[in-house]
């Protein structure tokens, strides 16, 4: 048996893009510096040479133009993949995304099959404009789908699903995972369904729900608790809209204790939605208050010391797990 190739998270996205562009002529990429320069993070490196300037389009520095162009071309039957250099600047494209793309099918019955790639997340002193994780805000907009892969395998499989999907999909790729995380990624094409969580590790005592880069923070904390005799079940949601309520509820039935972890800020973060849903559907299963670990409600500091205090760390999560275990 041939061993499966190991790829970085970034390579998995890159390979996925290339594979989809080969498979389907309607697929094209557009964004700032995605062509000649190969993308700010080199995700699209080599695509211009391989597919030519009609399918790899360098755009002006205008997020609303990028998303507006993608929306229009999707309406005309193409499969655009728009790259916003940093997910922070998605706010500039809010109107095209929320007012136009998200509501088009409801208003006119026409589908908008586009993907917006959003490099997100902190951990490298990028400061308040280059480190945010704004996925929660878009889960609040009916008509948009929200995807947050944590592993190279999921990054490629969810990208293929996002391109196939007839709706606008926001694909949040975590910058801090690009080159830090490697994993087995099949060469052949595969898809991963939306709304199906991945059990990162099974456990009996506490359910820990998270996604994106926080999956690794969660795993570090769960390792610590394992050595203290507490078994933590980590659920990687993979997609937030739709999200796998069933998997979370089944786990809570088993453990009766729930910790939710996200890198986005606390208030109105997606953790609040999960907590509310579990209380509505599984109140009589709970043996402890639901806890959330999230970033504080402030912009993200530049200072490495302050950024470390801002982004949830292994010890923060381990502390919360210990409290729940002892409750």
């Amino acid at each position: 048996m041939v061993p499966m190739p190991e790829k970085t998270y970034l390579q998995a996205i890159s390979d996925g893009l290339r594979q989809e562009m080969h498979r389907d002529e309607r697929v094209f990429v557009l964004g700032e510096d995605v062509g000649v320069y190969g993308g700010a993070f080199k995700v699209t490196a080599g695509l211009l040479e391989e597919f030519g300037p009609w399918r790899v389009i360098d755009t002006p520095l205008s997020e609303i133009a990028i998303v507006g162009g993608a929306t229009g071309s999707a309406l005309m039957g193409l499969r655009p993949i728009a790259e916003l250099q940093f997910s922070d600047f998605v706010s500039c494209a809010w109107d095209q995304l929320v007012t136009v793309a998200a509501k088009q099918h409801y208003r006119a019955g026409t589908s908008v099959p586009m993907v917006v790639r959003l490099p997100s997340g902190g951990g490298f002193s990028g400061g308040p404009f280059h480190s945010q994780s704004p996925e929660s805000a878009f889960t609040h907009v009916p008509g948009l789908k929200v995807v947050c892969p944590a592993t190279p395998h999921d990054a490629k499989g969810l990208l293929a699903s996002a391109i196939e999907d007839p709706n606008p999909v926001l694909y949040f790729e975590h910058k801090h995972l690009y080159r830090r995380i490697k994993g087995e990624v099949p060469d052949e094409r595969y898809t991963i369904p939306f709304g199906k969580a991945r059990i990162e590790r099974a456990g009996d005592d506490i359910t820990l729900v998270t996604w994106g880069a926080m999956v690794y923070t969660a795993a570090g904390a769960a390792d610590e608790l394992q050595s203290e005799g507490v078994s933590v079940e980590i659920i990687d949601l993979r997609t937030l809209q739709p999200w796998d309520k069933q998997a979370v509820l089944e786990s809570v039935v088993k453990t009766s204790k729930l910790l939710i972890l996200h890198e986005d800020t606390r208030t109105s973060g997606f953790g609040a939605e999960i907590a509310a849903q579990v209380v509505e559907d599984a109140f009589e299963q709970l043996d402890a208050p639901i806890r959330r670990i999230a970033a504080p409600d402030t912009p993200i500091p530049f200072s490495p010391v302050l950024e470390k205090a801002y982004i949830p760390q292994v010890e923060d999560v381990a502390g919360a797990l210990r409290e729940l275990a002892g409750y």
Partner: protein
């Protein structure tokens, strides 16, 4: 200068299930004098129609709820203005200021400020559901969670223990005859456990399962205490009707020493240590001829002198033996003294009264030959009244060095008891 106070008249609760009442008729009008307990109004509820007496002497200041109106129980329906006596010193005239109406704020009720909320054990939703489904009495499940809370695991383990049959023993040895019926054999007597016995059994087992028990024993030379007690005993009895026991001296010495060793007056809640600012000293009292035990607490024992301590011990002991303790008498203890020495016991290993972290055991006062050194270092054998004090402590919180330093202080305090000390 007279002081005025407003007293609220509220819609009374005329029965457990009654939630509202209707004003039928006001018997006084605004501005009229009314005496305490004088009928003030008539009300009608779905249980009874009745007169409501005035709660105080005064003037009916204002009627809030008019005749024919229906309001919830507890709603203010009128205000009565009472007029108090002049204060000893005349108050200055109120100085008008830019803000405020000039009316003094009513004083905060002191009792309400001091009252602490009753400590109620929290039952989580999942535990409540499982207990209901399996008809489990949670009072009988020992809790391993935060503050002794019964966790889901605790209640599941309790159910499993109650329903799992004993594993079959595979053995070639002859087994003792199994107990096949509830009928006692050969004149054995069978009797149900009393509620007290069951709760003692549960508490003792839970304490051993919770605390890491360790016991240390100190010999105390009670010569000074014996002499002083002999002198004070008739005086306490004649003048105060109080029996002065050795226990009172030990309790006083203990309370003083606890001030310097506060972790012994503490409890463990989850992974936090709660150190109490007050000492509620529990005294174990044997009842029913040794077949029962209650442990009432002397509240704020840190504020009692020797007479007060002796009186408090006598009071809780008398009330325990005559079964006149109230539920609150046996709650909220922070440290316990048990006193089995009266029957000659010289060493004990008492079990901690949860959620406390230590228990002191006072043993019999026994005359023993002991070696005494004078100031020149010359040894001599002397006969001294010696009492052993045994302290069981929860080694999870209290280390040996901490426990023995506390005990050394108790011993020092008892051995150096002076005439002037109360």
């Amino acid at each position: 200068m007279a002081t005025q106070t407003q007293i609220e008249v509220v819609m009374p609760q005329m029965g457990v299930s009654v939630s509202e009442g209707t004003i039928v008729k006001w018997l006084k009008s605004e501005g009229q004098q009314v005496a305490a307990d004088e009928p003030l109004l008539e009300i009608s509820t779905d249980k009874v129609d009745t007169e409501v007496p005035s709660p105080a002497d005064g003037v009916l200041g204002s009627i809030v709820t008019l005749e024919g109106e229906t309001v919830a129980v507890g709603t203010t329906i009128a205000l009565i203005t009472t007029v108090g006596e002049a204060l000893a010193e005349p108050e200055p005239e109120p100085v008008s200021t830019a803000i405020g109406s000039g009316a003094p704020d009513p004083p905060e009720p002191v009792a309400a400020q001091l009252a602490e909320p009753a400590d109620r054990t929290f039952v989580s939703p999942v535990v409540a559901r499982i207990a209901a489904e399996h008809s489990v009495d949670l009072e009988r499940v020992s809790g391993s969670g935060h503050g002794g809370r019964v966790t889901k695991k605790d209640v599941l383990a309790h159910i499993a223990a109650a329903t799992t049959p004993e594993p079959e023993t595979v053995t070639s040895k002859p087994l003792p005859a199994p107990v096949t019926s509830s009928a006692p054999s050969n004149g054995d007597r069978l009797e149900p456990m009393s509620q007290m016995r069951r709760s003692i059994a549960e508490h003792m087992r839970r304490s051993l399962d919770t605390a890491a028990h360790a016991t240390t024993v100190f010999e105390v030379d009670m010569s000074n205490v014996v002499a002083i007690r002999a002198r004070l005993k008739p005086e306490f009895l004649e003048r105060h009707g109080v029996r002065l026991t050795y226990l009172a001296f030990v309790a006083r010495a203990t309370v003083e020493a606890l001030r310097n060793w506060p972790w012994l007056n503490a409890e463990i809640r989850g992974d936090e240590i709660v150190t109490h600012s007050y000492i509620n000293l529990c005294i174990a009292v044997a009842v029913d001829g040794g077949k029962g035990l209650v442990v009432p607490a002397i509240r704020n024992a840190e504020g009692l002198n020797l007479l007060g301590m002796a009186r408090a011990i006598q009071d809780v002991g008398d009330r325990a033996r005559s079964k006149r303790l109230k539920p609150e008498d046996v709650e909220g203890g922070t440290f316990t003294i048990t006193n089995p020495g009266g029957h000659g016991s010289v060493v004990g290993t008492p079990i901690i009264n949860q959620p406390q972290v230590a228990i002191l055991d006072t043993e019999a006062l026994v005359k023993r030959p002991v070696v005494i050194s004078d100031d020149k270092g010359v040894d001599a054998i002397s006969v001294r009244p010696i009492m052993n004090l045994c302290l069981s402590f929860d080694h999870r919180l209290i280390d040996g060095a901490y426990a023995v330093q506390f005990m050394a202080e108790v011993r020092r305090s008892l051995e150096s008891w002076g005439e002037e000390r109360y």
